[in-house]
């Protein structure tokens, strides 16, 4: 896949994820408001969700992109995946009880992962010398990362509040 289409695909994926989380957040907030319950808990969950879905998408494809397209292109795609959620994150934060420091750290961690994972992919390609094998290994590592992320979230290690 050439850089421009893959980047467009990554950005569209990022936009789609942000739109889906927005839809869930606004819908749930409307229900909470009608119900008279606290809308800030929904915003807290929306922030967690926005972080988690981007983290999982990044874990799944970050290393693979680096292995197949190189570091620069992979990092660009990763940023294209992360950035579209920022307006949602900013608005949801104003509705949440999450303090700014954990939220900023979470976004920085995503950006750092967006740079680090393609770099690992690139390193894998160099170490294995074979594109197909590197791609497969990257997929495998991505799946392990994804599972680790989900498990950490389930065990409550990734709470923003």
């Amino acid at each position: 896949m050439t850089p421009a289409p893959s980047r467009r695909l990554a950005a569209v994926t990022g936009l789609a994820l942000a739109a889906a989380v927005s839809l869930w957040w606004l819908g749930s907030t409307r229900l909470a408001v009608d119900d008279g319950s606290d809308a800030s808990r929904i915003a807290d969950e929306a922030l967690q969700l926005a972080w988690l879905v981007r983290g999982m998408a990044l874990a799944a494809i970050g290393i693979h992109m680096g292995a197949l397209q190189g570091f620069r292109s992979g990092a660009g795609d990763a940023l294209g995946l992360i950035a579209p959620s920022w307006p949602l994150v900013a608005i949801a934060w104003t509705a949440s009880t999450v303090s700014w420091a954990p939220m900023a750290l979470a976004e920085l961690a995503l950006l750092a992962a967006g740079v680090a994972l393609p770099l690992i992919g690139r390193g894998l390609h160099r170490a294995l010398q074979r594109r197909e094998l590197a791609g497969m290994m990257a997929m495998l590592l991505g799946a392990v990362l994804l599972a680790a992320l989900w498990l950490s979230r389930s065990l409550g290690y990734l709470s923003l509040t």
């Binding site: 980047r7 942000a18 408001v33 800030s40 940023l79 950035a83 104003t94």
Partner: protein, 485 residues
């Protein structure tokens, strides 16, 4: 020179060592410290000092803090009564510029059983099955009507009533007009007349007797009469709509951003643009929220009886946050007498104006879509007298039997809502037998629920133009019950 220096040093040291002027602080809860969970009560604070100084009085009740500034004068006692929610942990602290803080804990006991206040000079014991009786003196009665929510019934004799000061009497009248249960024992005719003139609920809640035993029996039998329950915020919540318009605006802003982002993606995939567009949009979103005016709405529901000069009201003011900020809102002066936070959370500071003896400002933390509500209650003078006659053909003649004209409204009778025309004093209108309609909106349904099955009521929209400081988006109603035609 050396002596002079020593003298200056001695004076300096004595100034440093002089203790800050002490404050004599007493804090006494109303109703001898008895209340019920989730209700309101009052703390009577007395301050005395030997030096002139400004002081800040803070009453902490759960997560609410009521704060007021007072000027203390040497040898003069300052007394103020502050309405508070009946949290179990209530404390009063007084701070002065010198930095000393005097603190007193106020014990509030929560009764599981309904509370019966007994204000009898004779001290005779009163027993009412299922009630916990609290023996009171005149000074134990509160100055704020909201504090009456602590008790469920009251027995008062003539001497106790005569010993009440103006503010205590005002609060008691407001309680009686709000259908509070009060049994009077051996009161003089003048006091009886005064209390009777404001009675709500057709006097069912205000029995009067010559002896304690008779008053207790009357109070006991009055417990069987169904009195209208105070409305809760949940009952009226459907009328308060502050958040949905805000939610719609946020949804539109996000939709516009997504559309713009897709448009950008069609033309470029440059990494800098893909980063810059969301980053700038996030900043723009925060700026947009910053410029938005936090929506607020006030809803007033008032009820009275035809010919009775006082109507009791409950009001709810809701503030919706648009950003994470500490919000300071003025409390409308005409509603301020009985302003309280509606819920134990969130934490709230209330600035109490000691001069007016009313809350002036409320301060709380807010967030986008976060709703904070203040509850008001009290009574206001009203002049609406309605009489209804039913003709043989089923038509009803509605007459304005009062001294003031009334505007257009609705008449609720026989489970139907009729249009009530504006009528001058003494004028009458005829409503055809089949002119009514089933209650169509939430307001009419609520009014119907608050009307006795065999009774009638007139409903008018309140004109809130004369109420200072109310939000633009405010509404109010007056429901006047009318004896059955």
């Amino acid at each position: 020179m050396r002596r002079l220096l020593l003298l200056i040093l001695a004076l300096h040291c004595s100034a440093q060592a002089a203790p800050a002027p002490g404050i004599d602080l007493t804090a006494t809860p109303a109703w001898k410290g008895w209340s019920r969970p989730g209700r309101a009560t009052e703390v009577d604070i007395r301050l005395r000092t030997e030096a002139a100084m400004p002081a800040t009085v803070e009453v902490t009740a759960g997560r609410h803090i009521i704060r007021t500034e007072v000027d203390l004068q040497p040898g003069r006692s300052v007394r103020l009564q502050l309405p508070v929610s009946s949290a179990e942990d209530v404390s009063v602290s007084v701070g002065v510029p010198a930095g000393t803080l005097t603190k007193r804990d106020v014990g509030i006991a929560h009764s599981e059983s309904p509370l019966l206040g007994s204000g009898l000079v004779s001290g005779d014991p009163v027993q009412l099955e299922g009630f916990h009786t609290v023996a009171l003196t005149a000074d134990d009665l509160p100055r704020h009507p909201s504090a009456y929510s602590s008790i469920d019934a009251l027995i008062l004799d003539g001497p106790t009533l005569r010993a009440l000061d103006q503010r205590q009497l005002g609060a008691l009248l407001a309680y009686i007009s709000a259908c509070g249960r009060v049994a009077l024992v051996n009161t003089d005719a003048r006091t009886g007349q005064l209390l009777d003139s404001v009675r709500g609920c057709s006097g069912q809640s205000l029995p009067s007797a010559a002896s304690l035993a008779e008053a207790t029996d009357l109070l006991k039998s009055s417990l069987h009469a169904r009195l209208p329950k105070p409305l809760t915020f949940a009952d009226i919540d459907g009328s308060v709509r502050t958040v949905p318009p805000l939610l719609n605006r946020v949804a539109v802003a996000l939709a516009l951003y997504f559309a713009a982002a897709v448009l950008v993606l069609i033309f470029t995939t440059h990494a800098a643009v893909l980063l810059l567009v969301p980053a700038l949009s996030a900043v723009a979103a925060l700026a947009l929220l910053h410029t938005m005016q936090p929506p607020a709405q006030l809803v007033i529901w008032s009820e009275g009886s035809s010919g009775i000069p006082l109507a009791r009201y409950q009001a709810w003011q809701q503030f919706a946050g648009v950003q994470r900020v500490r919000m300071r809102v003025p409390i409308p002066p005409q509603l301020a007498a009985e302003a309280m936070p509606c819920k134990p959370t969130p934490a709230m500071h209330i600035d109490f104006d000691a001069g007016r003896a009313e809350p002036a400002f409320a301060e709380f933390d807010t967030r986008l879509f976060h709703r904070v509500s203040l509850c008001y209650s009290g009574s206001f003078p009203v002049s609406r007298a309605v009489s209804i006659e039913t003709r043989a053909d089923g038509a009803r003649i509605v007459r304005n039997s009062g001294v003031k004209a009334w505007p257009e409204g609705a008449l609720l009778v026989g489970g139907l809502v009729h249009h009530l025309p504006a009528l001058e004093p003494g004028a009458a209108a005829t409503l055809a037998a089949k002119s009514g309609q089933a209650p169509g909106d939430a307001t009419h349904r609520m009014a119907m629920m608050r009307t006795q099955v065999d009774g009638a009521a007139a409903l008018w929209t309140l004109e809130l133009g004369g109420v200072a400081g109310v939000p633009v988006d405010s509404k109010g109603w007056l429901l006047v019950s009318v004896p059955a035609p």
